[in-house]
């Protein structure tokens, strides 16, 4: 359609005047909200305590206590100034960065207001956010791999679910390492199926993904009901233990949040770095991206489009299988029917939110993980916000991003289009 063609050809730096004004007004509204809803309702002199050390961590940081109302007023003024500057002059290509800051200030103000006159373990909240972010981000990385090569993958959910089940089953029969390996292999196998359907048979890639998702729900629940529930020994794998990274975990505040986890979190960090360098600084990545942007040109230059896509989709499947193993071998220690509960689809959302970039996906994954973590805590905070509303936030945010309100992502140009060799 005309509109979409136009927006795709726009450069990433361009910010339309309308969007600029909308953003400025949004910042002002947030400033007003911080003052009206939070700061105004507080009695002067009331204090908030943020505990910065997650529970059970050895790297202690003193708690942070501050008088709530003045801090919130300062934040409101900061947001107002940013809003005014945006309206007057505009931040151009840095608008999204400013938006992130404003949203961050708003979330901070909300937490400070909700815990006024008591304390909140912010360190614990952030550490569990990282945990929640793992399957989401790994799912998103799976999507990045596939879609950068031009194959849409909505089967991440199904690949993760199957990986989780096989990981639990094989992990119980042997040990967790072999279980993890089996989960990765299963994901790769489903990736191969997706690749054969969408590359060889040129099936609609969304239908192919749907086939895998339906199959995954069916087969995992079937095996679970037939075997895992009957023989508990088959569904009792060991969880990978928490392992503190020697030096890094001693960094105050950040250390316990990022480096007191198990294998999966560290693997995620490695995947992020390897994938980022691989995609953007190696010949392998250049070829993979060229196949996703303009397969015909890539083919003309002698790149084997089909082989590249096969490789990318199989690797993506393995990645999703690894992410699935997190549920059974990294967090719960048991397989439950449909336990991924849409995490693969949030991963898809995180991929879009993160603009098809590994670190962007990680940022989105952290953000979505944070809402998950907050939703789990909101009952404890005693704030009258239903946790379901918080859990909706990632989906709504993704739709807003997709609609181009917060700047349109640059998706691979040939994403979802089967390649016909002439």
């Amino acid at each position: 359609m005309a509109t979409s063609e136009m927006t795709i050809t726009k450069t990433a730096d361009y910010v339309s005047p309308t969007r600029q004004r909308v953003m400025g007004i949004l910042f002002l509204v947030i400033a007003f909200a911080i003052w009206y809803f939070f700061s105004r309702s507080l009695e002067p002199g009331i204090q908030t305590t943020f505990v910065l050390t997650p529970g059970g961590s050895e790297t202690q940081v003193p708690d942070w206590t501050f008088t709530t109302a003045p801090i919130l007023n300062i934040f409101a003024i900061m947001c107002a100034i940013l809003g005014g500057a945006q309206l007057a002059r505009g931040f151009g290509s840095r608008t999204n960065l400013v938006l992130a800051w404003v949203v961050g200030l708003f979330v901070f103000s909300f937490l400070a207001w909700a815990t006024a006159d008591s304390s909140l373990n912010v360190g614990g909240l952030l550490r569990s956010s990282v945990g929640f972010a793992v399957p989401i981000t790994i799912g998103a990385l799976s999507g990045v791999l596939c879609e950068r090569s031009g194959v849409v993958n909505i089967a991440i959910e199904g690949m993760m679910l199957t990986g989780a089940m096989i990981g639990a089953l094989i992990g119980s029969l042997t040990n967790s390492w072999i279980g993890l390996f089996a989960a990765v292999a299963t994901g790769g196998l489903l990736g191969l199926v997706h690749a054969v359907f969408s590359i060889k048979y040129k099936t609609d890639q969304i239908i192919s993904g749907t086939v895998i998702n339906i199959f995954a729900v069916g087969i995992t629940s079937f095996i679970s009901a037939r075997f895992l529930q009957k023989y508990q020994d088959l569904n009792n794998p060991d969880i990978f233990p928490v392992w503190d990274v020697p030096v890094l975990s001693k960094i105050p505040f950040i250390g316990p949040i990022l480096f007191e986890h198990n294998l999966f979190v560290y693997a995620l960090f490695i995947f992020l770095i390897v994938l980022h360098i691989g995609l953007f600084y190696t010949r392998w990545g250049l070829r993979l991206r060229s196949v996703g942007e303009h397969p015909k040109a890539a083919d003309t230059l002698g790149i084997n489009v089909f082989r590249t896509r096969y490789m990318a989709v199989i690797l993506g499947g393995m990645m999703a299988g690894f992410g699935g193993a997190y549920f059974t071998l990294g967090s719960v220690g048991r397989f439950d029917e449909v336990m991924t509960a849409g995490r693969g689809f949030i991963g898809l959302a995180a991929m879009i939110f993160g603009n098809w970039m590994p670190f962007g996906a990680f940022g989105a994954g952290l953000l979505f993980g944070f809402t998950n973590s907050l939703a789990a805590k909101v009952a404890i905070l005693g704030v009258n916000i239903p946790s379901e509303v918080l859990l909706m936030a990632p989906y709504i945010a993704t739709m807003i991003v997709l609609a181009g309100v917060v700047g349109r992502g640059q998706m691979p140009a040939a994403d979802g289009k089967p390649y016909e060799k002439e």
């Binding site: 749907t210 895998i212 069916g218 095996i223 037939r226």
Partner: protein
């Protein structure tokens, strides 16, 4: 004269050829073989996961194969009896003439029709979308919203006669679904945001919304579980028989809607626009069709049909709303609509098949101990074979038709 002598022979030969060609290139053959192959693979799955088979393997491989065949056979017998009924019992009941026993004997058949009803609605929703080139993965969410709207109309509107209350609640449910379809539709038309992602997101928003409502405003007073109050007596769809048969009016509404969708798609100017946009949006735009209106209208109508499925379940079967009350009617509908070639008649037939499978599987779970989830596996196989007919053609050595009908249903993320 020589020509005349050769003629009959030639005709006979070509007749056989034509017959073989017709059978092997007919799309119906692929459809039938897809279903048969899926059932074979499902039987294989049952045999491979049966412990008896492994026990028999210890004796001899032949015994294992026999046990496996028996396991698969008894599964499908249980499936059939669950879906249609036990023929012997049905005949005996008819001979005895007892109304109660007849109802019981024929209940599986009517229960299959009951299960097919939401499938017809959601299948039509997907088919309508496919025809307009839209992939509505959000039927499940639209179904939930339709159910929420319908149950609210059934609970809070009081004092109406059934003749008004029933259609009103049903239409309010359709309206809810239409709203949930309208949002991704307008986003697609105005911003190019792909409807697949937006409808997936809308699904999860709908699930969370229903959880919130059922733990809050809609929760039945005094209830500790997330479940709504029962709807008013006047809002319930009419049932035709006494207990235990739950067969109700909704089935005929679904058939009527199938006719409406057929009439709309193939007999009206708007339907022509829909199909034209679905085949080639660019050409349609240059010929003066309003793509924005078609996209928004198609998504809204698709949503309305899915919403009717939710209304049907609430007003006809459950009479209240519980968390996760739908077990994937909206997702199964993707396979169903493709199996039915996105044609209303095909959708009705596929829905009857899927309804029978589901209803039979519930019975099978009880009598043969096979988990109901096997029908998801069967559906995945059917969908895979329908979506990639080349697999079926290769396995059964069918000829590829000269004019290869290839359905392009969704396009890249960027719209266009």
């Amino acid at each position: 004269m020589t020509n005349n002598e050769e003629q009959p022979q030639k005709v006979r030969k070509t007749f056989i050829q034509i017959f073989v060609e017709e059978v092997s290139t007919s799309p119906l053959t692929v459809t039938v073989l897809a279903i048969v192959s899926a059932l074979i693979l499902g039987g294989l799955l049952v045999a491979l996961t049966s412990e008896d088979v492994y026990a028999a393997w210890g004796e001899s491989p032949l015994a294992a194969i026999r046990t496996g065949l028996q396991a698969a056979w008894s599964t499908y017998v249980a499936l059939f009896e669950g879906a249609i009924g036990n023929p012997a019992r049905m005949i005996a009941a008819l001979q005895s003439g007892e109304a109660d026993e007849i109802r019981r004997a024929f209940n599986p058949f009517f229960e299959s029709l009951n299960q097919a009803t939401p499938y017809i609605f959601t299948g039509l929703a997907l088919a309508l979308g496919f025809r307009a080139g839209l992939f509505n993965i959000g039927a499940e969410g639209q179904l939930f919203i339709g159910a929420i709207f319908a149950v609210a109309a059934g609970i809070y509107i009081k004092g109406l006669p059934p003749i008004i209350h029933v259609p009103l609640a049903f239409l309010i449910g359709a309206l809810g679904g239409a709203l949930w379809g309208f949002i991704p539709g307008i986003l697609k038309a105005k911003t190019g945001a792909h409807e697949v992602i937006n409808t997936i997101m809308m699904n999860y928003i709908a699930f969370r919304l229903s959880e919130y409502l059922l733990r809050g405003p809609l929760q039945a007073p005094g209830s500790f579980v997330p479940i709504s109050a029962s709807i008013e007596e006047s809002a319930r769809l009419w049932k035709f028989f006494g207990d235990p048969v739950r067969f109700h009016m909704g089935f005929f509404i679904a058939l009527f809607m199938a006719w409406v969708v057929y009439w709309f798609l193939f007999k009206t100017r708007w339907g022509f626009d829909f199909r034209s946009v679905g085949v080639n949006p660019r050409a349609s735009r240059y010929s003066g069709m309003n793509i924005v209106v078609v996209t928004v209208l198609a998504m809204s109508m698709s949503g309305a049909l899915a919403g009717m499925a939710g209304a049907n379940e609430v007003l006809g079967v459950n009479h209240n709303l519980a968390v996760a009350f739908s077990s994937g009617y909206g997702f199964d509908a993707i396979a169903l609509a493709l199996l039915g070639k996105s044609h209303p008649l095909g959708v009705v037939l596929s829905a009857l098949l899927f309804g029978a499978l589901r209803s039979g599987a519930i019975q099978m779970q009880v009598s043969a101990g096979i988990p109901i989830d096997i029908i998801s596996v069967l559906q995945a196989f059917i969908l895979a074979f329908i979506a990639a007919p080349a697999i079926i053609r290769t396995i059964y050595r069918l000829k590829t038709p000269a004019v290869y009908e290839e359905g392009v249903y969704a396009r890249g993320w960027g719209g266009d």
